[in-house]
Symmetry: C2
């Protein structure tokens, strides 16, 4: 029985990096007889140009019917002046809501070989291995909003931040389960000294934690977490937080790792999940064949692990990437003297050659 | 005509650091005949213990009647289980609202002598000199909120993020004026790809900017700003943003500077303004006489500059601090071998001696 992977390259470097990841998936598919089937669909600005909408129904429906979705990236200056409701980002938000992608997993692991690329000093960043679990279909992203109204005689706009107990329970359980497979520590991040939503978040989290006596739970205010990530990132194991705080903190953590071109993500849905690099569509280097494909290839490994339960194939890919780095291959974003300068194709082949 | 400064030491190290700053203010007051008068009032946990409320009416009224307020810090584990409405932080929020402290100024300047304390690599952080202008009495901090309600059959809580055109105009004008006295660059931070409030923020900012053709305006999403602060902080001059994003980004920026014990802040009000160090009440070292008084002393310099228009006295204090650092004095938080280890008193005296 074949398993269908819907590939959504998106815009910019999207097709180059998903091509690389698909090549790697095909290689492990042959090796382990995974019987993967691929189907490509448009989204983002490319889809807007083709069909007048960033997320065509066909794309969303295909994604819903798939065993997993591999996503590239969307966006670019070309679509800056498009009506906000039709901008490339809307494809991202539409897929999240449409597939019910409630848990966004952002591992931030700093490989020893890449420590030097971090903006942080080596002794601070070394050993960092964080899993950020961000709630992805609730909070202020999807609350009611108002673009303009008159209130007390002035024009104002508003957005409703909100979380329900079941939403918090769902994501905190996910984080607790993840921590059990890691180092048994969860840091929940909120702003409960100011926000009512955060107070509900904090008390619900405490209740869920009662069912996980083996996991240590810590609570941090979001401003403090933004500081701790910079001065002592290796203190963290799993961080769980809401949609908006997760957006900010996961990007901060990513960049502190020094290798944003290497970081994958998984967005876990009720039936189908989606995998994508955390970096963007990099329109400035699109079509040049020089993009770093590693984040997307590692996202494909997460796909095998979380959606298809193919842990061995996932391990193979992760080891092949580590080996390619150890062999000295570096794409332009990470290139330094003394290493082997690799374009997208060379990097991909180096990784493919490490899968035997 | 004497000018009245209300001193609110607060909790923890609060009284030690405000004592130091008052000593410095007295010294420049004598030198320049500033005729300052000081009056001390309780707030925070200390006030809760004394009067059952973190912000007694007497304190707020005295602050309103003052020419300026010098604030220490509030909070501590002693009051962790106090009713949320009576926690020490409520004093901070109450003073902000009560005095109308609409603009929070957080300068983050990395002195060359202190570059090595940054968690960032030297070549990244060197030369950083940012002024963060955070809106302080609006946004989700003071929007309507609901601790608990039943919605679609589940318990939820919510908070209303909201900004009006006049609120945005006020803070952006402030930022533009500040930029004119600096390097003529303003970066406005929002999340306009998701939030309606941010879209109003962005279009209002663009309109205000039309009146400042000499100032370059940039817009950044908050997640991108959290990254840029870590990888290229010296690109920024003035950053202007809302209350919640400002809370997170100003703490991130502060810690990246490496010397959170050195950073002052000003909160500008409609008639009275308030000055405080950005660090907390450090209950673990309270009463030991070892706290770093520099952030509070530099806050006193901002007080002279912004509330009393005594630029020369402010310059004197800032130069005296620089000189004490150049002389090798370091409080425990920054002490390294080869320097002069200073407790609060020694550091304060070193600074006093540099004012002649
Ligand atoms: C594109 C944007 C809507 C999105 C978000 O804010 O979630 C992005 O920043 C992300 O983190 O995936
Ligand atoms: C104590 C707290 C309410 C406050 C805030 O969130 O504004 C603090 O973090 C700050 O930045 O001054």
């Amino acid at each position: 029985m074949s398993r269908k992977i819907v590939v959504i390259p998106g815009d910019g470097i999207g097709s180059e990096i998903t091509d690389s990841a698909v090549a790697v998936l095909k290689k492990v598919s042959e090796k382990y007889n995974l019987d993967l089937e691929f189907e490509t669909h448009p989204a983002g600005g490319t889809a807007y140009d083709l069909c007048g909408t960033p997320l065509p129904d066909e794309t969303l429906n295909a994604a819903k019917a798939a065993d997993a979705v591999l996503f590239g990236a969307v966006g670019g200056p070309k679509w800056d002046n498009v009506d906000p409701a039709l901008r490339p980002e809307k494809a991202v938000l539409g897929l999240r809501k449409g597939l019910g992608l409630y848990a966004n997993l952002r591992p931030v692991k700093v490989a020893d070989a890449l420590v030097e690329y971090s903006p942080l000093k080596e002794d601070i960043v070394k050993g960092t291995d964080i899993l950020i679990v961000r709630e992805l279909i609730g909070g202020i992203y999807f609350g009611d909003k108002c673009e303009s109204e008159i209130h007390n005689g002035a024009e104002r706009a508003w957005d409703l931040e909100n979380y329900s107990v079941p939403e918090v329970e769902r994501i905190v359980k996910f984080a607790m389960e993840a921590a059990k497979k890691r180092r048994n520590k969860v840091t929940s991040v909120d702003k409960s000294n100011v926000l009512a939503t955060s107070r509900l978040w904090r008390r619900t989290t405490a209740k869920v934690a009662e069912n996980y006596p083996e996991v240590a739970l810590d609570n941090l205010y979001v401003d403090n977490c933004a500081m701790q990530l910079a001065i002592n990132p290796s203190q963290f194991d799993v961080i769980v937080t809401g949609n908006l705080f997760g957006d900010i903190l996961s990007d901060e953590a990513a960049v502190l790792s020094g290798s944003i071109g290497m970081l994958p993500s998984a967005s876990i849905g009720f039936s189908t999940s989606l995998y994508e690099p955390i970096h963007g569509s990099a329109p400035d280097i699109a079509g040049k064949g020089i993009a770093n494909p590693v984040a997307t290839i590692l996202s494909a490994a997460m796909l095998l692990r979380y959606s298809l339960n193919e842990d061995k194939a996932a391990d193979d890919i992760e080891q092949a990437v580590d080996k390619a780095l150890a062999q000295g291959y570096r794409t332009l974003d990470l290139y330094k003297e003394g290493f082997k300068k690799a374009d997208t194709k060379t990097m991909t082949e180096a990784i493919l050659n490490n899968i035997d």
